[in-house]
């Protein structure tokens, strides 16, 4: 579905993303993790067209989309959510989602009906008439998800949709994401909440200082010493292996 090859993005002197390559097969849920500042959101932004990559190629469904404008990429079926939610503040929830739905349906009644269905899908059916500005953080994340979903995407880029939710909300949203995938949408997500990452994803890429330092199935990646060091500092892997008997868990 999505292939990113050798993507590099440089800001001033900083290599925010350094020769990153990832592949997202159709129908899978793939996660992108890494410590803060690793460059995950920048990578997303490059893939979605918000930044022009300095090097590398992005292919969607076999077609080269490198350098295409944002809206063009979105129309080809790859839409992203934003880490800091961007609701259409003065519009209602229903109207927000309808904007997404209008990408699929030109007629008002169809778009509105579709928006209603998507809202139910993510559990916002009761809040349709609320102004988006009145939503809680959790509500806004859900709205973000619903809005992108309404466009009928093939690939969804989710940027930290889970951060900031309480445990029961997390469980709900994990289930929603699973259902989204079951309906045929491929998902690439950035996430910090490990519990969600572990239970959702089938393949994980780990980004640190802009480089991909590990990839693989969740179990493998978590035990990988390089990954542990990226999060906890140099030598942490050894320390942990040594103190494993006494102190506890990764």
């Amino acid at each position: 579905m999505l292939k990113v090859e050798g993507l590099t993005k440089i800001f001033g002197g900083l290599r925010a993303v350094d020769d990153a390559s990832i592949e997202v097969p159709e129908g899978r849920i793939v996660a992108l993790i890494g410590p803060n500042g690793a460059g995950k959101t920048t990578l997303f932004a490059c893939i979605a067209g918000f930044h022009r990559a300095d090097a590398g190629r992005i292919t969607l469904l076999g077609q080269d989309i490198t350098g295409l404008p944002v809206h063009e990429i979105a129309r080809r079926g790859m839409v992203r959510t934003f880490q800091i939610t961007q609701p259409f503040a003065r519009l209602s929830v229903h109207e927000n989602i309808a904007v997404g739905a209008y990408q699929r349906f030109a007629r008002r009644d169809e778009a509105w009906e579709h928006a209603r269905r998507v809202a139910d899908q993510v559990g916002m059916g009761a809040q349709l008439d609320q102004p988006a500005a009145d939503l809680t953080v959790a509500g806004r994340k859900r709205l973000e998800l619903a809005r992108t979903l309404a466009t009928g995407p093939k690939l969804l880029l989710l940027d930290e949709v889970i951060a900031g939710l309480n445990p029961s909300e997390i469980v709900e949203i994990v289930e929603i994401i699973r259902r989204i995938r079951a309906s045929g949408v491929t998902v690439l997500l950035i996430e910090h909440v490990m519990q969600a990452v572990m239970s959702l994803s089938e393949h994980i890429y780990v980004l640190s200082y802009g480089r991909i330092i590990a990839e693989g199935a969740p179990r493998e990646v978590v035990g990988n010493p390089a990954v542990i060091e990226a999060y906890l500092g140099r030598g942490a892997a050894e320390r942990m292996a040594a103190g494993h008997a006494g102190a506890g868990h990764a």
């Binding site: 944002v70 809206h71 934003f82 259409f88 003065r90 519009l91 927000n96």
Partner: protein
């Protein structure tokens, strides 16, 4: 609000239209008919501003540029090429729309938005003012005088009431456009662009193209206002056609009445015309009406940014706040 929008809204449209039609018969004196014409005129050009500024969030301070090209297009075609003045209406729509395209294409290609866009439109208007002031073809500083030959076929009326119904028709047109925007895909996309361009883009909306489209639409309507104005007053000059005053008035009636709403400009226009006439009749002090209006703008932006319509809505306790494609 009410997503299907039947029932309530059509009743409102119907009542207002009936009142508007009855108005010149109930109050037939030249003073009142003139008041009606001016109120509707400001409602019409205000709505044209509102379509770009209120619905799509593209504030302009120089909207008069579209009005002015409409004035001159219609008048010049009539005076120099013998075109029937009624055809001046579509001609001015074309001119206004073309100008809208030029301004939008240049400005948005360059990535201008917000305050910078507002200011550059001012400069465009000023350029047109200077050009028309310096060129013989447009009559230079002396302007253009349309010979008075009152006849319906000539888009001039011996009785003011004729003009009243023309501007009423135009206003109804502009309101229809606004209603359409509220309920169409295009309007929903404009609202999205207004609220958050990046998010709109991320959902697949070609922000540049939609913004150009709305400026073309807005310019075309505003241009028609110019043709009407020329016929009503029979005289235009660069200051009248491209001077800052009309830009301000268009913006004022929309912001005070309620930007991004269907009837905001009408409310603002009735208020503006009312305050203007009242100030002139009661005190004869020049400038008073705009002092009041300027103060009103400041107060509204500060305390009631959604305009007076918001106040009415709150008073009648309807579920307010939704300014999108409902």
């Amino acid at each position: 609000m009410n997503p299907t929008g039947r029932g309530h809204d059509w009743l409102l449209h119907g009542v207002l239209l009936a009142v508007a039609i009855a108005f010149p018969f109930v109050l037939p004196s030249p003073f009142w008919v003139n008041f009606g014409v001016l109120a509707l005129f400001y409602a019409f050009i205000g709505q044209s501003w509102n379509i770009a500024g209120g619905f799509a969030g593209q504030l302009s301070f120089g909207h008069v540029v579209f009005f002015g090209v409409g004035c001159y297009a219609s008048t010049i075609l009539q005076l120099r090429f013998g075109l029937n003045p009624w055809l001046g209406l579509p001609a001015s729509a074309l001119a206004g729309g073309l100008m809208g395209f030029v301004v939008a294409f240049l400005s948005f290609r360059a990535g201008l938005k917000g305050s910078y866009f507002a200011l550059i439109t001012l400069a465009f208007a000023e350029v047109m003012r200077i050009l028309t002031n310096s060129v013989e073809f447009t009559g230079g500083g002396l302007g253009l005088l349309i010979p008075a030959r009152p006849a319906a076929s000539n888009f001039q009326f011996a009785e003011r009431i004729g003009f009243y119904f023309v501007i009423l028709a135009l206003t109804v047109l502009s309101i229809a456009v606004a209603v359409w925007l509220k309920r169409s895909r295009f309007g929903a996309q404009l609202a999205a662009i207004r609220e958050n361009e990046d998010a709109a883009r991320a959902l697949g909306i070609d922000v540049f193209r939609e913004k150009v489209k709305v400026l073309i639409l807005s310019g075309a309507l505003c241009g028609m206002g110019g043709a009407f104005f020329a016929q009503y007053f029979l005289y235009i000059d660069p200051m009248i056609a491209f001077g800052v005053d009309k830009s301000v008035e268009m913006l004022l009636v929309s912001m005070v009445g309620g930007a991004g709403t269907v009837y905001g400009p009408l409310i603002g226009a009735v208020l503006l015309a009312g305050i203007g006439d009242a100030a002139r009749v009661l005190t004869n002090v020049q400038g008073l009406s705009l002092v009041i209006y300027g103060a009103l703008l400041v107060v509204i932006i500060a305390f009631l940014p959604n305009g007076l319509i918001d106040l009415f809505q709150r008073l009648f306790r309807r579920r307010g706040g939704s300014r999108g494609g409902a």
